[in-house]
Amino acid sequence: MALTAEIKREMYWTMLLARRLDERAWVLHRQGKIAFHISGIGHEAAQVGAAYALRRGEDWVTPYYRDLALMVALGYTPTEFILSLMGKAGEPNSGARQMPSHWSLRRANAVSHSAPVATQCVHAAGIGLAIKLRGDDRVVFTTLGEGSTSQGEWYEAVNWAAVHQLPVIFMVQNNQYAISVPSAKQMAVPSAADKACGLGLRGLSVDGSNVLEVYNVMSEAVERARSGGGPTLIEARVNRITPHSSDDDDRSYRSREEVEEGKRNDAILISRQVLEKEGVLNAKLVEEMETKAKEMVDAAVAAAEAAPYPDVSEAAYPVYVEEVRRG
């Protein structure tokens, strides 16, 4: 499907909004207002490019913690995000049970995930199986970091999808680090996409800072999955410009030059260049977006700060489905 100029602008807007939300989270952390933040800065183009290739709200997603921009593309609101950062009542991921960035959004078919990495990929294989068994016209998209492909969980998930030709798209967001460990200590192949050949599925690597390139590669994979052609493994090459999380200090394990280099290839920057070259974006439009993003982020923070903590009487539930109390 060819993208309209409007949709391309919307993609940039989504990336930008996620970026500004993410930056605000770092500020809130420095202000001591939140306990923890783990950032998607640098990963936005990969996530938004992918999201727009899905039938959002119809296709399924099992994301990972860096997927703020993906979640925003799926309809997760700024206020919902800030509520989750603060563990406030009404945050939709977990009712304030999980740490921030442990996503879940039922209305968007975005499945709850945990912290143990790669577990969500196995769920994606199972969702793919269910889609196939039911004969539904859907695909499932799952994401993780390159370090997490070292887990047996990931291997088993991809193997299932390949053996049963399931409509699953695996996207590895390769930012070259798992906390401090460089990818050369994770794998003996140059690209995470190379892992596909041993598992019998298609593997592709794409510049994850270029939202349109990601969209194109992802669209092809979605099309293949939807038409019964089986799973695809996509590596999106991205830059983790921030430390791993608010608990990390990356100066001990990588040079400032490397970080600067990453910033020069930043997703927002590169995607903006691409879209400006296409003539769908210009300085004025970006300015307007910036203003709107700031307003939205400010409003979200204000709303979240005003929101109450959940009532402690809710903490004991719902351990079992019988105890679920629906709004």
Binding site: W60, T62, P92, N93, S94, G95, R97, Q98, H102, S104, R106, V111, S112, S114, P116, T119, V122, H123, A124, A125, G126, I127, G128, L129, A130, I131, L133, R134, G152, E153, E156, A157, N159, W160, V163, Y317, P318, V319, Y320, V321, E322, E323, V324, R325, R326
Partner: protein
Amino acid sequence: MAEITLIEAIRQAMDEELARDPDVFIVGEDVGVRGGVFRATQGLYDKYGSERVIDSPLAELSIAGVGIGAALYGMKPICEIQFADFIAPAFNQIINEAAKMCYRSNGEWTVPMVFRAPYGGGISGGLYHSQSVEAFFTTPGLKIVIPSNPYDAKGLLKSAVRDPNPVLFFEPKKGYRLIKGEVPEGEYTVPIGPAAVTRPGSDLSIFAYGMMHYYALQAAEELAGEGIQAEVVDLRTLYPVDRATILESVRRTGKALIVHEDNLTGGYGAEIAATIAEHAFTDLDAPVRRLAGPDVPGVPFSHPFQDWFMVNPQKIASAARDLARY
């Protein structure tokens, strides 16, 4: 009513649930064409096809995780783990994912599914085909069911399939063909939760499940001949356990003997003993006793070793006799 074996009851339950609900499917190693290494799924592949009875890759982690994914989507998978001994690779998916899904998503996401696994020793299986693993899974969010007879096995398994939560269903494999019992023709279920007083008595209470419950009834019969009236309670659901029935029984008899196959230390019985010690303290006329497997890392293979390890009716009778005389 027809008298059938434990495994036939399990097979019937799956057959009926597959017929009843198109969302139910079976996945596991050798469950399809082969009908399971114990033949629990025999005939189901031919009857329901390769999309309802799925031969998985040899990988328990993904049998569990793929099952969880399908359950998230709204299907009702029955995941067979070929031996309970091989559930360990799936531990992360069961403990960190299945058990915590409902709570961590505030009820937005749920995983209606069953994990079936044959457990227990006495079948010359050595350390890795004899394990009892129930104690590893006594964690909030899971339900654990262990049947001791065909009637319960069928009724409980049907309840497990219909339960909206993840249920671990452990089957005493030594009893698969040994334990027979009457099962009605028509549809019925046995609720998950309640324990059953399977033999009333006044001198002491024996708490057991699975194969050990079968043996406990034999021991109680023997003791009756000596004038000792043992009450036998089949726990059936181990988690969440039926505390009321346990405490009520102890309050009447004043003495408790808890029996399981697994190692004594850290085994499931500790929780029952602790519950009784806390909540029936003033009713106790004797120490709370546990009879269980010795504290070695597994059931050893060689015949004399295996006999040494396994709890049997004689050992139960002997422990019960001592307790009754306390």
